[in-house]
Amino acid sequence: MAKIVTAFGTLHTPFLPEQVSNAPGQLKPEAMANEVREHLEKAKPDVIIVFTSDHFVNFFYNHFPAFCVGVIDEAETTPETGCNMPHYSLSGHRKMAAALHRAALRSNFDLATAQEVKLEHTIMVPLHFITPDMNIPIIPIYNGCLAPPAPSARRCYSLGRMIRRFIEDWDGDERVALMAGGSVSLEVGGPRDTTWFDEPWVETVKGLMSKGDYQGVARRATEQKMLAAGNVAHELLNWTTVFGALDGALPDYLDSQRGSVFAAWDLEDGR
């Protein structure tokens, strides 16, 4: 039986790798990412299930799935304007991803699949800091929150619960990490400047997380609330999906920087 041994979440700001490269050891997000990395290294996962939101790299309005799982052997980073970091290749976990897809359909979660994906900053910026050796296979699970309407936070939470059951029922003995990427409050290209963020909302989410009240986050994260927190604040859906798989475990690390939350859960003892 596989098990979830850790979960973590970070921002995925595309220009952060270059900023850190230009000012090593001086930026808070780098220190926070280092903190998260320590938790991941301690957990020694065999696979990372990555919950992320495609930023018009793999999908466009001609076909933008609400949810999609990457059933891949390998994938590479793709060039993105403003995201300067090394070119990376990563392995996928095709067998487990395919089984997850089948289990999801049987549980009435109609995930699309992609057997070829391009790895974008939403996945690779966190991994650039957290798993710089890029030696842990991933299973990417995308949601379509950048092309509203998006799935509800409660639906994402339920998907996370289903994925926990899948992992526990899976025949293999993989040690599984879960990753949430993205901001809680952020505006990109909209009327409000990127320096703006909804501080009360970030504090609300962080406060509920600190108490393990993840359903409370999912209940409060309505479409209107997330839109008010910024035009890409629906990235919180990546987090609420992970929340559904935590079975109420409290975070072992939790901090925030402006509109972004960093967190890590040590789940070795099966909490």
Binding site: F56, F60, V188, G190, P191
Partner: protein
């Protein structure tokens, strides 16, 4: 108005360097292959991001206009023109 063609133009300008170069050098020619309405072409050529925003064009995709200097757009003109209204749900 679906704004799909506007989204396609903005998306291609990031995804396809060749299209981006054509759009930068000869926008009228580059836009011919897309199903843009007369009003959409005019709003794009005017750099009227406020109107695009009103029409429900994705702000996230619109950010490529100043990023790649499309239609003469700079970060400063983008910020001036988009206005201060509340964000809208995209269509």
């Amino acid at each position: 108005m679906s704004v799909y063609a506007i989204h396609k133009l903005l998306w291609l300008s990031e995804e396809d360097p060749e299209f981006r170069a054509r759009l930068q050098s000869d926008p009228d020619e580059a836009m011919k292959g897309l199903a843009l309405t007369v009003e959409e072409v005019q709003a794009l050529k005017n750099g009227d991001v406020h109107t695009l925003h009103q029409w429900g064009v994705s702000n996230f995709l619109m950010r490529v206009m100043p990023m790649h200097g499309l239609f003469g757009m700079t970060n400063e003109t983008y910020r001036e023109r988009i206005g201060k209204e509340s964000p809208r749900l995209q269509v």
